[in-house]
């Protein structure tokens, strides 16, 4: 709550910069509810860290799942005038934020996951999720024919489970397929959709069907909470899976080999830090790809321990090519 953070001493921020840090009130508007283990939670972690390290006062407001509530929800924050900066994201908010930002010119906004340029009070950042998914696809392709991994079979089939059959999810799928084909054009991808992002039992059933009947040995979770069913299914069968959005490697060590992370938390923290130092470039959009650390595979100790060296090396190589721009990943969006 507010009571706690006001007592946080300002000197918790990095020394030297404390002097330039001003007392900031920020709000984080969630156009949905927390607990998606994805964007929203990740950004929440970012603002939380910001409040701890920078002494910013952060108020999180959940707008709920009814889209009609979002314009009013955001506007009520902007019109209150209580907040120096409002953090929010997702492409569903693009038109809404444009409208509100024009009408509340003094209000500053930090916007993630969709590009907005030309509005002097909005800073936006985007993540090349297709690049991240490309890495996940390449990783899966390397795993599925691996001889070192016990759960891998010789068949060149990998799985994909999406929450809904919608563009944002299909962009993940497109990147995933490109990555897999890049490694081996003969790989085929089995894709299924849960229908929502909550029905974990159904997610698990779909995954079980993929693993059991389609010779899938590694599958990519792009179904939020429902996708946790996939991770569990993979673990229960001794097969593999790839987590999404945040680092899910620890959920089932040895089965969740890696996760495709979008570092929204870091980027939000970074943006707020810059803001506190008056160095944030409002009016601009920044693209955070593999190179910028905006997206990538989670390479933690578990990754190092469980993923064969050969695959790790190959992944490094592909990442390098992406960074250099030698590989171009197509996006289905726009």
């Amino acid at each position: 709550g507010c009571g706690k953070s006001t007592t946080t001493p300002a000197n918790t921020a990095s020394p030297g910069k404390a002097a330039t840090t001003k007392k900031i009130n920020a709000a984080y508007f969630v156009n949905g509810t927390l607990g998606d283990k994805g964007f929203f939670d990740s950004a929440q972690r970012g603002v939380k860290q910001a409040s701890e390290t920078l002494g910013i006062d952060v108020k999180t407001v959940e707008g709920g799942t009814n889209q009609a509530d979002w314009p009013a929800g955001l506007e009520s924050l902007a019109s209150s005038g209580k907040y120096d900066v409002i953090v929010l994201g997702t492409s569903q908010m693009t038109d809404i934020i444009k409208d509100v930002a024009k009408r509340y010119e003094k209000q500053k906004f930090i916007f993630f996951d969709e590009a907005i340029t030309g509005l002097p009070n909005v800073y936006s950042m985007t993540y090349s999720q297709n690049e991240g998914s490309f890495m996940a696809g390449a990783f899966a392709a390397l795993v599925t024919t691996s001889t070192e991994l016990k759960g891998a079979n010789p068949e060149k089939v990998i799985g994909f489970i999406g929450g809904m059959d919608i563009p944002i999810i299909n962009d993940f799928k497109a990147g995933y397929e490109q990555g897999a084909k890049y490694v081996d054009p003969a790989i085929s991808v089995v894709a299924s959709y849960v229908g929502d992002f909550a029905n974990a039992p159904k997610g698990k059933e779909l995954a079980l069907a993929q693993y059991n009947s389609q010779k899938v040995d590694i599958a990519f979770n792009v179904a939020g909470g429902a996708g946790l069913g996939l991770l569990e299914a993979g673990n229960s069968l001794g097969k593999y899976s790839i987590g999404v959005d945040s680092n899910q490697n620890g959920l089932y060590p040895g089965s969740v080999l890696t996760s495709m992370v979008k570092s929204i938390d870091n980027s939000v923290l970074r943006a707020l830090t810059l803001y506190s130092q008056d160095r944030l470039g409002f009016g601009k959009n920044e693209v955070l790809g593999i190179k910028e650390g905006g997206v990538g595979l989670a390479k933690d100790d578990l990754y190092n321990k469980n993923v064969p060296k050969a695959i790790q090396d190959k992944i490094m190589e592909i990442e390098d090519k992406l960074n250099k721009g030698e590989i171009k990943v197509q996006t289905t969006l726009k």
């Binding site: 709550g1 507010c2 009571g3 509810t33 108020k59 407001v61 959940e62 707008g63 709920g64 799942t65 009814n66 889209q67 009609a68 509530d69 314009p71 009013a72 929800g73 506007e75 009520s76 924050l77 019109s79 209150s80 997702t90 492409s91 569903q92 693009t94 038109d95 969709e114 809904m164 059959d165 919608i166 563009p167 944002i168 962009d171 229908g195 969006l333 726009k334």
Partner: protein, 352 residues
Amino acid sequence: MNTRQAIYLEITGIIAAAIMAILCGFIIIMFSSQQPMEAISSFLGGPLSGAFNIGTILNKAVPLIFTGLALSVVFQCGVFSMGAEGQLYVGAFVGSLVAVYVHGLPAWILLPLVLLCAMAGGALYGAVPGWLKTKWNANEIVTTLMLNFVAILTTSYLVNNVFKDPASGGYARMHYVGDGAKLGKIFAGFPAHYGVLIALLAAVVVYLLMYKTRSGYEMRLVGKNSRFANYGGISTKRVVIVSVMISGALAGLAGIVEILGVHGTYKDNFSSGLGFDGIIIALLARNHPIGVVAVSLFYAYLQVGATQMQVGSDVPRELAIIIQVMLVLFVSSQAIFTYLKQKFALRQKAVN
């Protein structure tokens, strides 16, 4: 007891119920919040503080009024439809297609055309369970629940794959509708859009329809005693079909007005349960159209209150919603009203 006293009693009952609910909510808040007073005051006072919040209440009440009316019509006719959600999607989708793809018409033709098409879409979709019921006596609760899923999935497929605006990015929507078909703000600087007026108009029309016309008389009679209606020469099957179609048309209106007034175009999955809220609204209003307006405003007030409590205190969203639910439960308690009436009757006796 005359009508005036009855109204007083009703109001006293509502106030008593609200006080009980707030006490209950307060107890919950005490356990979980550091700022109980702020929470309560932002919950109750927040929604009425400022033109912006008041306008928001009005806007939120609009789709509730439509779906509440939609369901009150079928409920009065004795059909327990849960299908407003699906009809709302179909209506909104059809209406949006017209709004997005028909060009070159002046606004005063286009807008009514869009609304009419939405109503037609909802009505036709509503006719399906009505037909299944009258033809084969297929339970309408089952068919409407299932048809909701069918409508949501079908429209989702279409907007994602056929009618998607390529510029819409990760979440599919159609092209934005032109200004001609939009429902603008009634006053500059006040959020309420013209849908508010349409909703009020719809409530009056439904009131007149249900209580002042022959069709309304027939529908209510069929709902109350279909044997009697049949004996009186009323074709109950026809009346049932008519009522589900009127209901579907109103649900379709709910959808298209929300699109034109709030979203600006058809967005995938835009409703999230407005059709189900309508069921609660209609039941709370005891199926009376004017009651539907009052209850919708109350419901919208509670929803805005729940958001305001989240903004104005440390109470999380879930708790705010639980308190909102408590209020609804207490206010819909018949027992409290009966109790008051009995007390009243006893007092009257003592006086006499």
